[in-house]
């Protein structure tokens, strides 16, 4: 792998940037691997990367049915934060946050991680009580957090409407200063390049159509490019997790829903932080290009169609205009949908399955992007050691039978 640096930039400038090495190879799948990762999204690529980096396992293939960066990794609103309520979730997302903080250097790829802060607004007395509780819980767990008054919110974000006669007046907010945004495509590309450089095969346009078992032991996967033998298989398929689990007759507590986002035309810089509101349900930031990045909610029905309803967009934009009346004449440029795998307790499932050698990482729902590094890190450990890391031990599929759910619905500011 050619390292990226100011020197490589100068060197390649002399050859008119025509000699850059491809960021990753496009090999044909081999007949056999130690580990096959199903799903080449951010989480799958991060898993492969940490399998090689932390555990020395490099005979690995990542099988992606589409192309790298074409799924949810490239369809989210890029928000990164770790201000969850419950200990288990906080520790998992904070592990991720710590990895984010060194990720560009680690990958030698600029993921444009920008710790510009995330505000979670409170609009009612109960909102503010919940915010105080969550910030206190965060600080006890070593995660930064502050409670702001409406005046402090207004000082940070002058264009926000804090008028007391608003339909849902802003009473205050929580602020995590270490939170922010990252460039989602760069995260996928950086992990792909890092994994490839360590000898891992990234195979695109390779769809898994079946999981082959010998008794209770997984032996490989059927794909549209033939059978691939594998000692271990890690399924990281987001919205299609139920489809893959059904291949081994495993039922999951997951429902797949369309989740939409949209961006506006580029405008001058007006918003240098991330603003989220659970009560009116909208979240917004401004990209480095200047476009407003807006996240909507999920459709109530299940769907695999990568598109959602117009009524959801209408509701989201109404919420955004409630917060920022000045955006009323901004035009929206693009809108898209992704398929998110929603768990009943809004927490992921990361762990072993009843099939030996088959591991599951799914259920991230509407908020998986922020967890990309940590998810890959704990899943690589789970696969390599054949047991969960203490950070993901609580996130087993078993919790839906024991009742030990980790209820982050609503508790974590906004469920994204």
């Amino acid at each position: 792998m050619n390292r990226y640096s100011i020197w490589s930039l100068v060197r390649n400038a002399r050859s008119h940037h025509e000699q850059w090495q491809a960021a990753w190879r496009s090999p044909d799948p081999k007949r056999e691997y130690d580990v096959v990762i199903v799903g080449g999204g951010g989480h799958g690529l991060a898993t492969a990367y940490y399998l090689a980096k932390e555990h020395g396992i490099t005979n690995v293939a990542v099988l992606e049915k589409g192309w790298i960066g074409g799924g949810n990794t490239g369809r989210n609103t890029t928000i990164v934060r770790s201000n969850y309520l419950w200990d288990e979730a906080t520790h998992l997302y904070e592990k991720s946050m710590k990895l984010w903080e060194g990720l560009s250097q680690d990958l030698n790829f600029n993921v444009m991680f920008s710790q510009r802060g995330v505000l979670n607004l409170g609009h009612t007395l109960q909102d503010m009580r919940d915010i105080a509780r969550r910030v206190n819980a965060n600080r006890l767990n070593g995660v930064d957090g502050e409670v702001l008054t409406a005046a402090q919110v207004k000082a940070m974000v002058p264009i926000i409407n804090t008028a007391p006669d608003a339909r849902y007046p802003i009473l205050g907010a929580s602020l995590q200063r270490r939170a922010g945004v990252a460039r989602h495509d760069a995260v996928a590309w950086g992990y792909a390049r890092g994994a490839d450089a360590r000898g891992i095969d990234i195979v695109q346009n390779c769809e898994v159509t079946g999981i082959r078992r010998d008794g209770a032991q997984v032996v490989g996967v059927e794909t549209n490019r033939g059978f691939v033998k594998a000692k271990k298989v890690g399924v990281v398929a987001a919205g299609h997790s139920s489809v893959l689990a059904a291949m081994v007759d495993l039922r999951l507590p997951i429902e797949s829903h369309p989740l939409q986002a949209l961006v506006s035309e580029p405008i001058k810089r007006v918003l240098d932080t991330v603003v989220m509101s659970n009560a009116v349900h909208g979240y917004i930031s401004q990209s480095d290009k200047g476009d407003l990045v807006i996240g909507a909610g999920i459709d109530a029905y299940t769907g695999y169609g990568q598109r959602g309803s117009f009524s959801i967009i209408e509701g989201t934009l109404a919420a955004i205009l409630e917060l920022f009346p000045t955006f009323s004449r901004v035009r929206m440029n693009r809108q898209w949908g992704g398929i998110v795998d929603v768990c009943p307790d809004a927490c992921p499932i990361i762990g072993l399955t009843p099939v030996r050698g088959l591991y599951l990482n799914c259920g991230w729902g509407t908020g998986g992007f922020k967890a990309t590094p940590g998810s890959g890190w704990v899943f690589a450990h789970t696969i390599a050691q054949d047991r969960p890391h203490e950070l993901n031990a609580a996130f087993s599929l078993d919790r839906f039978f024991t009742g030990r759910l980790i209820d982050e619905h609503g508790a974590a500011a906004v469920a994204h």
Binding site: H240, S242, V243, A245, A246, M247, D249, R251, L252, P253, I254, E255, S256, P258, A300, Y301, T302, G303, Y304, G305, R307, G308, S309, F310, S311, P344, F400, F401, T402, G403
Partner: protein
């Protein structure tokens, strides 16, 4: 946006309805004898198929009555609407998720499907 045919009120916009998720989940009768696995399966596990899905809807801002819908989760096309207690037109189908392609040649039995695509 879906155009949904309420069995009692006729075609109405999706915003009048609420989706109640997977249909035909029957509460176990002998609850004292259930294992944790059976309880977990009843409460949390879902088919979540890619393709034909049988689901419950309620006409929240209309007659407020529940009914069932057969819908394709890829095309979002509604292929049938039927009342609670009625059998789904093409049976309940296999117990687990998977790639069930809806039979798109069949005429819809709950009324026309124009505008049912998102």
């Amino acid at each position: 946006m879906l155009l949904i045919h309420c069995p009692w009120c006729g075609p109405r916009e999706q915003t009048e309805f609420s989706c109640g998720g997977e249909a035909h989940i029957v509460r176990p009768v002998d609850t004292d004898a259930l294992t944790d696995e059976q309880w977990g399966d009843y409460l949390f596990m879902r088919k979540n198929p890619r393709g034909r899905h049988l689901e419950q809807w309620v006409h929240t801002y209309g007659c407020r009555r529940w009914f069932n819908v057969e819908r394709d989760t890829v095309t979002y096309r509604i292929t049938a609407v039927y009342k609670p207690g009625d059998e789904p037109p093409r049976g309940v189908g296999p117990a687990s998720a998977g790639r069930e392609a809806a039979n798109r040649d069949q005429p819809p039995e709950g009324g026309p499907t124009r505008g049912s695509d998102g």
